[in-house]
């Protein structure tokens, strides 16, 4: 669900903080690309005895272009734990347990991330078992069908949330061609059909689980030279041959669209989802939108004061955009006390967006946001996981961890004019999808 509070949205934003690096991260990012395309990123960090080991695969639900195969990137993430001829799933689990790491994986629109954090002295073993499964994954039909049930179980537990239901509908309505039309979980009918897609799963592995799509990130109590040597030793023999999915281009939206979940006994919800930009670490669009969302939707914003503190019509207010490889949604969300206030609330928000198009933001407010970004970042890079996750989030959109440094440098440059520019460009009725939850048959918002 793309309902990010401004605080969370901005927690990774920074400016230059420290001597010793040219960028904004106060630690050097070492990169070495293996000849097969695997990029190896190492960030030594003072966490005695502990290190985080991440593998970022640039494959996600965005790559699910075939009809009936939605949710497959996520399903495949599950299959990656089902063993190889060299290391069975039982043995893999036994090794993982002996390492004593916190290990898991997750999938989203543009990527799948595999991670383990634990004893830095056991890092070579982590390289060994991960390289084996990324190159040699092999699973039985029984394992395949059994894992499909676990994915259905995941869908089942998520579906209890009306927000999840609305998210699925909103994306389905907002996009016509592009694969962001479906969520990473996929459509339920496709999830139910997963047990019948064994052959497709093999082709999925062959096409996407290739070194060209992989970046290894190691952060913590490690030495760069040692990490790079292990990467070459264990991942250097991985054969290339990645196939790029033909992602359809989304046609321009021509009118306001609507998505609705009918739900009694639940707080009414209003979402305004505008078509936004793709991530780009050289353009001002996304950083300017981030700054604007902080000004308009954070707890110190005028809208928050009006809707939540003074009038007390709403329980919560959120707004922002996820970084993604292709143009995605900028979503504003309000949880309301009374569905009768939906239209008025929408009008108030639209008025604030319209004002942002023509009225320069106060220079002190802009300076405060930039200061907030700087110190938020500084406060949050306090563990190997936090740094690895931060780097990974830029690797999956551009392939380059230095995007983090480049992107944060843009924040310092965001001007009043940039903010007005993005407001005019993106907050338009023909790019809007209105999503609602209420007990009515429709949201009743124009």
């Amino acid at each position: 669900m793309k309902r990010i509070t401004s605080t969370l949205l901005l927690c990774w934003i920074a400016i230059q903080l420290n001597a010793g690096t040219d960028g904004i991260l106060p630690y050097t990012i070492y990169q070495k690309q293996l000849s097969n395309g695997v990029n190896v990123v190492t960030v030594p960090f003072g966490s005695p005895g502990i290190a985080a080991f991440y593998i970022v695969m640039r494959v996600g639900s965005r790559d699910e272009v075939e009809p009936g195969k939605t949710g497959f990137a996520h399903f495949f993430e599950h299959m990656m734990f089902r063993g190889t001829d060299n290391i069975s799933k039982e043995k893999y689990n036994e090794i993982l347990k002996s390492i004593g790491a916190s290990a898991n994986a997750n999938t989203s629109l543009d990527r799948t991330v595999y991670h383990m954090t634990g004893d830095a002295l056991k890092m070579e073993k982590m390289f060994e078992i991960e390289a084996d499964r990324f190159m040699n994954l092999k699973y039985s039909m029984q394992d395949f069908k059994a894992e499909a049930g676990a994915v259905k179980g995941e869908y089942t537990k998520n579906s209890a949330s009306p927000y999840e239901q609305l998210d699925e509908k909103t994306n389905d309505v907002a996009f016509v061609q592009h694969t962001y039309k479906h969520t990473t979980m996929g459509f339920f009918k496709d999830v139910v059909d997963m047990p019948n897609q064994y052959d497709y799963s093999l082709s999925f592995f062959k096409r996407f689980y290739r070194p060209e799509n992989a970046t290894i990130v190691v952060v913590g109590d490690v030495k760069r030279e040692v990490i790079e040597a292990w990467a070459a030793k264990y991942f250097g023999v991985w054969k290339g041959g990645a196939v790029k999915a033909a992602i359809p281009t989304e046609p321009e939206q021509k009118e306001t669209k609507f998505a609705h979940v009918e739900m009694a006994n639940f707080p009414p919800y209003l979402g305004l989802n505008f078509k936004g930009p793709a991530f780009d670490d050289k353009k001002m669009d996304m950083p300017a939108l981030d700054v604007l969302s902080s000004i308009l939707f954070s707890e110190k914003s005028d809208l928050y004061n009006q809707l939540i503190v003074k009038e007390q019509k709403a329980y919560s207010l959120t707004g922002g955009a996820d970084n993604s490889r292709d143009p995605n949604l900028f979503s504003i969300g309000v949880s309301l006390k009374d569905a009768k206030d939906m239209q008025a609330t929408k009008d108030v928000i639209i008025a604030a967006l319209e004002k942002a198009k023509t009225t320069p933001v106060d220079s002190k407010v802009l300076a405060d946001v930039k200061s907030h970004l700087k110190y938020s970042f500084a406060m949050h890079i306090d563990s190997p996981d936090a740094i690895a996750e931060g780097l990974a989030s830029y690797i999956w959109v551009t392939g380059d961890p230095e995007s983090l440094n480049r992107y944060y440098a843009l924040y310092d440059k965001v001007s009043e004019q940039d903010i007005m520019m993005v407001a005019k460009k993106y907050f338009i009725a023909t790019g809007l999808t209105i999503s609602t939850i209420s007990e009515g048959k429709d949201g009743g918002v124009k």
Binding site: S47, G49, I50, F81, K89, E94, L96, K97, S98, I99, G100, A101, S102, N104, T117, G118, D119, M141, Q142, K145, A146, A148, G149, A150, K152, G153, T156, K157, S159, A160, S161, P162, Y163, V192, P195, N196, N265, F266, P267, E299, K300, I308, V309, K310, Q312, Y315, K337, A367, D368, V369, S371, H372, L373, Y375, S376, A378, M379, D382, S383, D385
Partner: protein
């Protein structure tokens, strides 16, 4: 000093906890760029009192989200925003913890605000109404309709601690929250938030002078108030297995939590032994634990299956445990993530059109049978060694950030320990498999427990009947899956489907009737 007494209906099992009001836990990190301050109060929902369920939560959140006598909440947000200073509060059964985090360079600017929030909250009517409305919304609607898993967990606590101080959710109940007034909040603050029941924690880069000032100021928090002696009433012990099945409309699965009270906390050295057993049976979100392998990995029934020997906050979102939830009353629990209902299975697979009950009964049987087997057979030396090795490394990951480190140190103090993580490691190193198996037999059993199941309205009656009458619950696989499953799995299923559960009664009711 606060006297805390644990009582059951007939017997008062008492112990006295003496808290030094100026207990300070320090974690100095001169190289850090920030300071973290935690103020823990020995005050939580267990002390709310009858008719006031949820008042501690309201009070703590009004302190956190409201203003001070010098500044409104909006003014505070404006002021601290450029510094990226932040704070939050957690309220549990027995403690409330305020956590403040600020860059060192702004510590002196931020401190008057922090001090004001604790010592001089404004308790404005406007803030109170906002906080109360949010809380009312949660207990009226959100709790029942966001995550069936969290709902079933809260339902289990409500069932397991019935008649006891832990029974109600920390957020309270619909009818109690509705009647709260600002005067109730002020009274709760006066009774429960004072220097006598406060523990201070501080981590990061601060000066001795700052700490002296903090201690001096915190000593002024209602210095004349002597916390009442609270009686913590235990819930009624389960007699047999007691099940509640709660009906929801359009639930896609059956969310299950089961558990029984257990006289063991981190205070006891036995905790390390039971950590090993629990990790083997159902370590939180780990694919190598027994229940996960049996129910999810082999049988494809759900997303995961875990067990716990203490409260684990928000397990759906957290991979590692959060500090701030220490308790004197504890319970063992089994979490089975939603399994399929008959309605769902029939819709997905024509070959299952004749089934009346989904997978909930079978899953419950399987989990309790595995627990039973562990009690009877114990752990093997090999499993013990591997699990102990895992835990000795894994528990160090609980404290990766300074905030977590400080939090676990505060929790350690609650349990009469200095550093729980380090001490558990020492205890784990000394353990033998015999110690673990003795702990299993001492603390675990399968005959008396509570079970809460949230499920679709279409499932309730047949599932309730199946449980109540101990009917066989054959596993219903799709043909596609069944044809590839090994014979040993199907043979074990046959055993599981008839495994007798000591179910004494089953109650069924509608979601609308919970937490009222």
């Amino acid at each position: 000093m606060r006297r805390i007494i644990i009582a059951s209906a007939a017997i008062l099992i008492a112990f006295t906890t003496i808290l030094n009001a100026q207990t300070v836990i320090e974690l100095k990190q001169p190289e850090s760029n920030k300071v973290i301050i935690k103020i823990m109060f020995r005050a939580g929902s267990a002390f709310d009192g009858k008719g006031s369920e949820g008042i501690t939560f309201t009070t703590a959140h009004l302190m956190e989200e409201g203003g001070t006598t010098g500044m409104t909440s909006s003014q505070i947000k404006d002021k601290i925003y450029p510094w990226a200073a932040s704070y939050f509060v957690t309220v549990d059964k027995e403690v409330t913890v305020f956590t403040f985090e600020v860059p060192t360079v702004f510590l002196n600017d931020f401190y008057p605000i922090m001090k004001g929030l604790i010592l001089a909250p404004s308790f404005s009517l406007e803030d109170f109404e906002r906080i109360k409305a949010n809380q009312q919304n949660y207990v009226d609607q959100v709790i029942r309709s966001s995550s069936d898993e969290e709902y079933s967990k809260k339902a289990l606590e409500h069932f397991l601690f019935q008649g006891g101080s832990y029974q109600h959710p920390v957020q309270g109940k619909s009818k109690t929250v509705k009647d709260f007034t600002l005067e109730n909040v002020k009274a709760c603050y006066k009774e429960n938030f004072c220097k006598e029941n406060m523990t201070i924690g501080i981590a990061g880069n601060y000066t001795p002078e700052f700490l002296s000032q903090l201690k001096k100021d915190m000593r002024t928090l209602q210095p004349d108030v002597e916390p009442k002696a609270f009686t913590l009433v235990k819930g009624a012990a389960p007699k047999g297995i007691q099940v509640e099945v709660i009906a929801k409309e359009n639930a896609l699965g059956s969310a299950i939590f089961a558990g029984f009270p257990m006289a063991l906390t981190r205070k006891s050295d036995d905790f390390a032994a039971l950590m090993v057993a629990n990790s083997f049976l159902g370590e939180h979100r780990k694919s190598y634990s027994l229940l996960y392998r049996k129910i999810r990995e082999q049988r494809s029934m759900n997303y995961g299956d875990y067990t716990y020997i203490e409260w684990y906050d928000n397990g759906g979102s957290n991979m590692l445990p959060r500090p701030g939830f220490p308790r004197t009353q504890n319970y063992f629990s089994i979490w089975l993530r939603p399994v399929q209902t008959a309605k769902g299975l029939k819709g997905q697979y024509p070959e299952l059109s004749g089934i009346k009950v989904g997978h909930a009964h079978f899953a419950l049987r399987m989990a309790i049978r595995e627990l039973d087997k562990m009690i009877k057979d114990g752990m093997s030396e090999q499993d013990f060694e591997l699990t102990r090795t895992f835990l000795r490394s894994y528990i160090k990951l609980y404290t990766q950030t300074p905030e977590k480190q400080l939090g676990f140190l505060l929790d350690s103090k609650f349990y009469g320990r200095k550093d729980y993580i380090k001490e558990m490691d020492v205890l784990l190193a000394k353990l033998s498999v015999a110690d673990v198996n003795a702990a299993i037999r001492k603390y675990w059993q399968t005959q008396d427990m509570y079970v809460s199941i949230i499920t679709d309205i279409s499932e309730v009656e047949e599932l309730g009947k199946s449980l109540e009458q101990n009917l066989p619950s054959p596993m219903s696989y799709s043909n596609s899956l069944k044809e590839v499953l090994g014979k040993e799995i199907l043979a074990e299923d046959e055993q599981v489907s008839k495994y007798p559960l000591n179910i004494k009664f089953v109650t069924m009711f509608n979601t609308k009737d919970t937490f009222r």
